[in-house]
């Protein structure tokens, strides 16, 4: 081997090793254990990275987070009565952070009955197995909520895709401008979804005798119901097409006169739950599962 080739090889290996060491050194993983009062609230504010919240046992909030830069830190605070615990990603200094520098990954476990509030810019939010209220908002990060029972679930997004699954006896309100909203087995006393251009997809039985209202401007609405669904359903679109492939009985006294192709109304079984689908220019389709 020629001497300059040997020197170059050693140089490259040294640079790679140094970079690896620096990268590892910049990744900081920490664990926090914070007491919280029964029924207290956990508030998380972060920009990018990810936030995942699970339901757990005990009376403490356990937060494991990883930062990737010395330019950010996680502030923690709690009210004296432990009724509210907050975790907030905080930039050190006035220098703007790059996307990677601003990332913080949170893994949080909260006690049963605790409420959770999460706000992010681009970080995806995943929440599962909670029994307390959930309030989530993100500009662009995907929002996923799974296995939540007897709770308020409020979601707001700008361009954030929203996915809700297995939410029982919930009070669900979703407002999303451009992000699509997907729901699978979501039921409760109120399920309200509104978008400007995001599509709305629902698959489930609309059970519980609740009020289900899906409204969009230009997004599409697709609802898939089992034959056993007990719904009083109306669908109306100002300029979009409306299609029904679900067996409905015509209502004796509809609140409006259905117009073929742009609206329909009817009931199935005993019509326990109210389902209202409205769009301005998006198409609406209801079909049998």
């Amino acid at each position: 081997m020629k001497p300059y080739a040997f020197v170059a090889g050693v140089g490259v290996i040294s640079v790679l090793a140094l970079g690896t060491v620096q990268a590892v050194a910049a990744d900081t993983r920490k664990e926090l254990r914070l007491d919280i009062a029964p029924g207290g609230t956990v508030n998380v504010v972060s920009s990018s990275g990810s936030v995942t919240v699970h339901g757990g046992a005990g009376h403490q909030v356990v937060a494991i987070y990883t930062t990737h830069s010395s330019k950010v830190e996680v502030d923690q605070s709690a009210t004296p009565d432990k009724g509210r615990v907050e975790l907030r990603t905080h930039a050190l200094g006035d220098q703007p952070l790059t996307g990677d520098e601003a990332k913080v990954e949170y893994e949080i476990t909260v006690p049963a009955g605790a409420s959770v509030t999460v706000s992010t810019a681009t970080a995806p939010i995943t929440v599962e197995g909670l029994t307390g209220d959930v309030m989530l908002e993100s500009d662009k990060g995907q929002i996923v909520v799974r296995n939540v029972a007897r709770a308020h679930v409020h979601v707001r997004g700008v361009a954030a895709p929203v996915s809700l699954a297995d939410i029982v006896n919930g009070h669900v309100e979703v407002t999303s401008s451009g992000g699509a909203v997907q729901m699978v087995n979501v039921s409760g006393s109120k399920v309200s979804v509104g978008t400007a251009s995001g599509n709305i997809t629902y698959r489930g039985d609309c059970s519980g005798g609740g009020s289900y209202a899906f409204t969009t401007h230009s997004g599409a609405i697709d609802v898939t119901l089992p034959e056993t669904a007990s719904v009083d359903l109306t669908a109306r679109s100002v300029n979009g097409a409306v299609q029904n492939d679900f067996p409905l009985e015509a209502k004796a006294h509809p609140s409006f006169v259905p117009k073929s192709g742009s609206s329909f109304a009817g009931t199935s079984n005993s019509g326990l739950s109210s389902v209202e689908l409205q769009s301005f220019s998006g198409r609406i389709r209801v079909k049998k599962q």
Binding site: S47, S48, G99, S119, A121, T122, E137, D139, K140, R156, V158, A159, T175, S177, G178, G194, T195, A196, S197, T215, H217, S218, R236, V238, N239, G240, A241, F256, Q278, F280, S281, R283
Partner: protein, 210 residues
């Protein structure tokens, strides 16, 4: 693709089927879908104007024999009918009148394709053409976006897009309410549109704070 771009390539779309982009536009734009449906119907009807084949001489002969057998015709008239079957002009499969009608139908259809400009609903039109030539945002929206751009530039594009969409939403809903103030659904749409804008302002303001 917006409505204007789609309609520029419409004759080719009708003739040879559309591209994936054109098909996508067709699925999402009720106005253009209705236009294409109308034109396809016209094309179908125009084909019916094409000249027809005259029946074979054997048909005339068969009818002649049947009528004679039942005693419903006289010999003289039958001979006339029989003569028509062997006239040189009738041996041709296309009649001149048919050719003229076909030509007229094709010319009318071509002229329709070239000249047709659908009267789209204003709201739909504004929404579909939004991407081609975005309208300037109101001053309040621009001020809001400046704040977001300074503090969170990576999400300012999402806010701008959403503000435009919501403004179109409000405009459409306001027109629907003005058209029929008793329309409960239109009023609900207007309320929903304002709630969308309220949400955007709340979130953008929070994102703009130091």
């Amino acid at each position: 693709m917006n409505c204007q771009q789609f309609q520029e390539v419409l004759p080719y779309t009708i003739e040879s089927g559309g591209s994936a982009e054109e098909e996508e536009h067709l699925r999402t734009c009720p106005a253009c879908a209705a236009l294409v449906e109308d034109l396809r119907y016209i094309a179908t009807q125009a084909k019916l104007l094409l000249p027809m084949h005259d029946p074979s001489p054997r048909v005339w002969t068969g009818i002649e024999q049947a009528l004679r057998h039942q005693g419903l015709t006289q010999e003289g008239r039958l001979s006339l009918m029989g003569q028509t079957a062997v006239l040189p002009a009738q041996i041709r499969s296309w009649t001149p009148v048919g050719w003229v009608m076909a030509g007229a139908a094709l010319m009318a259809f071509s002229a329709l394709l070239i000249m047709y400009r659908p009267q789209l609903p204003q709201a739909s039109s504004s929404a579909q053409n939004m991407s081609a030539q975005p309208a300037p945002l109101p001053a309040d929206d621009q001020q809001l976006l400046r704040g977001v751009s300074q503090r969170a530039p990576d999400v300012s594009g999402a806010y701008e897009d959403s503000l435009r969409e919501v403004n179109v939403y409000i405009n459409d809903a306001e027109q629907a309410v003005a058209k029929d103030p008793q329309d409960a659904a239109a009023r609900e749409q207007l309320l929903e549109a304002y709630q969308q804008k309220e949400m955007l302002y709340q979130m953008a303001t929070a994102r703009s704070l130091p």
